[in-house]
Symmetry: C2
Subunit: 514 residues, 2 copies
């Protein structure tokens, strides 16, 4: 077995006890593991001690040991006969506020075996972090939220294991990357102070815990690595993203952006990392427009307007009949509207150019994107002036955050060699459109690299690579967190960014100038 | 507060969180503790994380932290306000096969607060280690034995705390010293292989565990240090004894003997330690004679025979009417019988010298020690020839073990500067008598140092001194365990030691020669 490919599984053959070598089972195992892991501290806990005498004898002292590690010590997380054909599994979890994604991994070769997702059952309490934290303040509220996610996880673990005909008991290691609040609720920790100035989590580095202590039903000795956070607004999901993007190993400077309700941004290279998080406004994820929704079948994700005819070419996901529009669709739409003069520099609908698509509802302009007869709802899918205003604020906030971060280190945004865009949003966004509205800097398109669910990918990496797990804490410790100080300078930059693409068109040389 | 006097309690004042210092509660605490414990690894576990946000704020960031440590890391075991007047307690436990002794200690100044003892409730299953191990092999047997001792401990902890009007919750640290089997049963570990060749315990170094994981009801974050063992027959109780006797710190070579059913012996100094354990026969503890019993009120512990009149002067503990005789009494009696010619060189009763005290019962000689009219039982207290034969074998075994150990390192027993005698037996024994029968070497009497319940004392030391806790593992690791090889040489020495005092009277120069 290649231990480089399987850092968490070791074969050890213990010397058979004799009257001249009669050290205890646990110490015998520790000594054998110490040969494989020289100089390392090896933890053998009480639960393992209870199993050990029977197991070592049944296995005739020839063992496959599953191990896991935190900063300072290795923990035995499973113990099997070398002749046992049972798989040794790991589970990576992206613990999202809205959606939880699991990936089952064969720890012997690092291969992904299955992936499943489920809606975070805490959504029943409230869709966002804030509502849940307030709920956690009520009697039994924290216990309730904790039970919801643990129960949900246990069901999903059962299901994902069943899908490949393995057992939850075969899982010996887990990794969980989530934002600071979701992590607290998973651990049953009071999130109260996360949202109250000065915004203090209970813990920055939860480290490696026993899954049994969390109520997660996997192998009896299994451990779970919970990704660390930098603070209330910079969570383990983003640290997992950095790990996956390898931003922290680059010689040149690059940027990683994860956009949801918050924009979380990290800029840096192998020498330094600087991060910040700020409210980018909800327009970029979903929900801001009446027809706004998360990406999914039938959701409009691309829009092209024919400059000659003004006709809208609409693409909906999986080619289904349109039923709403997602963030990337809104950005496409806004870019196309702007390029065709249907919105002006300030994002206002230009009645003269919108023609028959314009409606006035409750005194406000609405633009019909998909007429009722072509929509899945049987109603017009529209975007209102208020929706567009919200998008403009969001894109301005996004650009201002990027600009502020770059300014802090004396860097020009257009100098970046790589711009990683994480998350569902990152997968669907058309960078050309995002540049056209001045949300993202005017980089050559090939520098925009969508990296998908980098939170899940980072969590999975830690199950596959022993060096990755070492890097997590190093990444965390190296990030300088920039507290976004919303002062007059920031507001000035924000105001300048509220134009399309910007009051300073020189920043967007690739765009046609009006 | 003098931290040297209270190594396990530290006052820490955390910087109050601000927007510019918004690390998490746990990391804030860890950073503050790191100032007090530079370079040390500090463990903050999930149970503490759950309490932490409320506690640090209630205490206004001014804390008394209780800590404990294993080889490599410090653990936070309790957290209190600096203004909280509650005591911070430790509990040392001598976990005996027959008797369990508890000492409650104030961790702030190391002062003993109370002491209590109770009979090991596992005695209901069987009086000795062997019976209990066989019981542990039956279905639910191990669980039953474990429940008995844990329940017994919890009751005793309640009682000892009540006796000084404190709460079990105030206990943050425990130490337990016991033999290897008792330790296994406390931890719920299978003792099966301890008594089967090649005699393998589950664990040699259990280390520091959470009391909650053992079901012990003390402080919610409390830890328990379980003393390590060398093997099946050399337990944590003896390591605690070495710690207390400071044998391992001496420049000159000394010996420590703990006599029960087994004789456990350690010889050494600050450079080396060699230990062994062997069956010394039950005569020395209790139970061998029909009237034999553990030391207690009314138990004969000293006997003097007037050489002129042959009158027996009997002393019973607490001056009560005699009801039995304990090991030290038997040794005194044998020495006096021998010095008065009432037993011969081989320990046989000499009819001509015993006069009216001799009875023949079932064809065997019995000697009346206390006649019926003076005894608490209303019957003669007698010692039989079989009892005396058993004593002779026991004393011969004892001497042979000592001799073998000394020979192994090329030392003459009579050169020892200090001879520590541990246990109840050690407190009551008259070294003069033990020398007279050739059980102990012929050292000047002032070199015999009874050290009482050194298992309890050693356990207590680890709660008082941070250096002591470091020494425990060092002692364990330094002991060379001599497997007593009962070969022809050993048997020859044993046969020679079966004479009173020995076939070689030159070894006992202080005794009158016949």
């Amino acid at each position: 077995m290649n231990t480089a490919a399987a850092p968490w599984v070791r074969i050890v053959v213990l010397p058979t006890p004799t009257i001249h070598n009669n050290i205890a089972d646990a110490d015998r195992l520790r000594a054998a593991l110490a040969l494989a892991l020289p100089g390392e501290t090896i933890d053998i806990d009480l639960d393992l001690l209870k199993l050990l005498p029977a197991v070592v004898r049944e296995c005739n002292y020839r063992l496959r040991c599953a191990l896991f590690r935190d900063r300072s010590r290795w923990m035995v997380t499973g113990i099997f006969s070398v002749d046992d054909a049972r798989p040794i599994l790991g589970l990576a979890v992206d613990l999202g506020t809205t959606r939880v994604v699991l990936r089952l991994i064969d720890l012997l070769n690092g291969a992904p075996l299955a992936e499943q997702a489920f809606d975070n059952p805490q959504s029943a309490v409230g869709p966002d972090v804030l509502t849940r934290i307030h709920h956690a303040d009520t009697p039994e509220g924290l216990h309730h939220l904790n039970t919801l996610i643990i129960t949900g996880l246990n069901s999903a673990i059962d299901a994902i294991c069943r899908s490949v005909e393995f057992q939850p008991q075969d899982i010996v290691a887990m990794t969980v990357a989530g934002n600071t609040c979701m992590t607290h609720l998973l651990l049953g920790l009071e999130p109260r102070w996360i949202i109250r100035e000065p915004y203090i989590p209970v813990v920055n580095r939860p480290g490696v815990l026993k899954t049994a202590a969390l109520g997660i039903h996997v192998g009896p000795l299994a451990r779970v690595l919970v990704f660390p956070n930098i603070g209330s607004y910079f969570g383990g999901d983003l640290i997992a993203g950095i790990l996956f993007s390898k931003l922290h190993q680059r010689k040149d400077t690059a940027i990683l952006v994860d956009v949801g309700t918050n924009a979380e941004v990290v800029l840096g290279n192998r020498d330094w990392l600087i991060g910040c998080a700020g409210a980018a406004g909800p327009a970029l994820e979903s929900g801001v427009t009446r027809m706004g929704m998360l990406a999914g079948p039938g959701v409009v994700d691309r829009v092209v307007i024919d400059p000659a005819t003004g006709a809208f070419a609409i693409h909906a996901i999986e080619e289904k009949t349109p039923r709403g529009i997602c963030g990337s669709g809104v950005i496409d739409l806004a870019a196309q509207l702007f390029m065709n003069g249907m919105i002006d520099l300030r994002g206002k609908l230009v009645a003269a150019r919108c023609g028959g698509r314009l409606r006035v509802v409750d005194g406000m302009h609405h633009l019909v994107v998909v007429p009722a007869e072509q929509s899945a709802t049987g109603e017009d899918l529209t975007i209102s002036q208020a929706d567009l205003d919200s998008l403009i604020r969001s894109k301005a906030a996004m650009y201002t955050i990027l600009e502020t971060l770059a300014m802090t280190v004396g860097l020009n945004l257009n100098e970046l060699n790589a711009f990683f865009v994480a998350g569902t949003f990152g997968c669907f966004i058309n960078p050309r459109s995002a540049i056209a509205i001045g949300m993202l800097p005017d980089l050559p398109l090939d520098r925009y690299i969508p990296i998908g669910n980098s939170s899940l990918e980072g969590a999975a990496l830690a199950l596959i690579s022993a060096t990755a797990i070492d890097e997590i804490d190093r990444i965390r410790d190296r990030i300088t967190y920039l507290e976004l100080n919303v002062n007059q300078d920031f507001m000035n930059r924000f105001s300048a960014a509220k134009f399309l693409p910007h009051t300073d068109p020189g920043r967007f040389p690739s765009l046609p100038h009006s």
